[in-house]
Amino acid sequence: MSFLSNFEWSQNIFYLLAGAMVFFGFFTVVTKHILRSAIYLMSVLFFSAGIYLLLGADFLAGAQVLIYIGGIIVLLVFAVMLTRSADLAEDHPPLTRKLFGAAGAITFFVVSAYLIEQSPLIIEKSLPSESASIASLGKSFVDIGASGYALPFELISILLLGVLIGGAVIARKEMRTK
């Protein structure tokens, strides 16, 4: 997937994707209907998968589409259906809540942006065309050497197992009636 290597061509694709993401991102949090917001989130995730491709992380893009869009969005939609919040009256929070929320988010954005802009990010001068291959990614999951990440891989498996069991216990309807 080296066609992304020439630079200025990928630049405009990036702007396209970024624009879409900004547009849909904004609407996810602003729309009144919860279902529409889930859909917008899906499109934001989709475009971010595009950016991963742009950045050469193609496995990650695939994983993104699979896990995020396939898993989480479906889960969210199920949750919306289960809690019948779809026919919930428009979810419009009180004005004070909005103002405070906006103030918080904007200050966060401005401060972080300013601080990040101020700091010199060390950029690798030579941009090697060949991005890391999927094989090396897979190997790193099981490599117990210094550069490998076998440990987190195991931990993730334990966590997911635990969460599944726990989630089941919590979500299940209790046997004896209250």
């Binding site: 918080g104 966060f108 601080l115």
Partner: protein, 652 residues
Amino acid sequence: MGEWITNSAWLITALPLFSFIIVGLFLRPLNEKLAAGVATASIGLAWLSSLLLASHYFSAEVSAEAQKTLIPWTVEWLKFQEGVTVNFGVLLDPISVMMLVVVTTVSFLVHFYSLSYMHGESGYGRYFTYLNLFTFSMLGLVVAPNIFQTYFFWELVGVSSFLLIGFYYQKPSAVAASKKAFIVTRFADLGFFIGILILGYFGFKISGEIQTGSQPLDYAFLTHPEVLKAFLNLHLANGNSLLALALLLVFMGAAGKSAMFPLHIWLPDAMEGPTPVSALIHAATMVVAGVYLVARLFPVFSTVPDVLTVIAGIGLFTSAFAAIIACTQDDIKRVLAFSTLSQLGYMMFSLGLATMAEPLGYTASMFHLFTHAFFKALLFLGAGSIIHAVHSNDVWEMGGLKKKMPITHITFAMAVLAIAGIWPFSGFFSKDEILATALHGEHYVHFIGGLLVAGLTAFYMARIYFLSFWGKARTEKSSHAHESSWVMLAPLGFLALLSLTTGFIPFAEFVKIGAPLQQEGIDLHVAIPGTLMALLGLSLSAWMYTGTLNVPKKISVALGQFYVAIKNKFYVDEVYSFITHQIIFRFVAAPVAWFDRNVVDGGVNLTGAAMRGWSSALTLIQTGQLQTYLLWFVFGTVTASLLLWGIFLGMV
């Protein structure tokens, strides 16, 4: 033989202490009679040994060297600090031996007298214990070699008088009187203590430069000539001499104990105590402690003449003031109390007039103290025997006791003549000497005042004599009064004998100070006017109080308001109680108690309440809204980053 007596002089003081402990702790609960007996015996022993000591001390070969003061026994009581140590001990010099004799004599007689007077009273044993304690502390005061020991026993005397005045603690008036006596004398002792502080500090400074081999508070040190010179050139910030201030403060203590004018209010009320107590304490011993202190420090006082003039002034005023009031009192013991006040005034002003150059006043005052102790004790004991018989103090309820109580009558009469200053009796000689000092020192005001007071004394003494003994029994109680038992009469007789003979003792040889005295014998220029005034007083009183008693009524009506004022002792007591109750208690003690409860305490409660208020305010930020929590979270992160960045840039 001589040394043995003087060296065992401490025994005189120790005897009452041992008997106090034995009687107080062990005998009293066992059997009261035995306790009283032991107490009286120990004082008797002390009396005999003091007589022995006096005879030895004033015998020919010892008194050859003038005023030889010796300290036979001393022990280190407390080392305050390097240069300031207080030793307790016994100091023998003419006035202290004289006082030893006076105190032990009167104390023994009062003990003996009380055996029967207090018979049947509840707390009989307790009474004798307190009497022993008093005698011990009085003797301790008398023989003190330094001013600190004087102060030590000064307070103990105050406490024992408190205990004895308040002996009938069931009677509210006795309780109030004892409390008043203690507090007033305590207030005076405050001045005395501050005086000691000043003398102590500057004495310590001076003892640094001048080596006298004695501690700063010892009398030997204070009366040492160089030390006095050093003291004199110490001046206060405002210029007048420091020694004057110290001595004035010491005099304040003396004035309190000897009930001089401003601090005299406690003595009349002290009559609430049993009469033998008044005889011992408020006639012969305690009240003269002030005069004794001034006499003891006389060499120091003489270096600051204007303090002496102050003393003389107060002395004269007190004697006149008391004499006037005495004429209007109805309670026989109150009259005697005021007469004591006036005689003390006599002694004080005679001391005030004396100087080292012509020290007649000093000897006169001591002589008067000596004689007065005996006839005033006799008067009190006589009055005691009357009250014992008539069961009331009021002179108007007595009358016609001449026939019923012959011995008391005779002895009482002799005492009246003695105090009036009629020739053969001792009062004449000592009063004459005082008037002589006033005359020779050209202190005409004091001389005339003295004469007037002599007249008044004769008048009021005769008044109570005639009212109680002459005429017919005015009340039913006095009609069947009968003579007291011999146990009470024997002391009266002995004291009467003493008031007859003591006049003739050549006092000047024994007790003298400073330059030797020139003239001898009785000075007619003084004797004649004195006796005339006395006779005038006696006759006036005879005229008024023997016949139909309407003359005094007419006079009292004539004097009107002035008479009422005198009768109420010029309202001095009311002024004092106003000051203490209305001003001190209402405007100082109560506000302090209130201030503490509300303001200081309130302050603490306020902080507590503020904390609780702050806490309930702070709980409100926990609104329960998750999104508010998250808002805090975000702002927390932002501020943390900015702060860290700020610190890094060195801004914050």
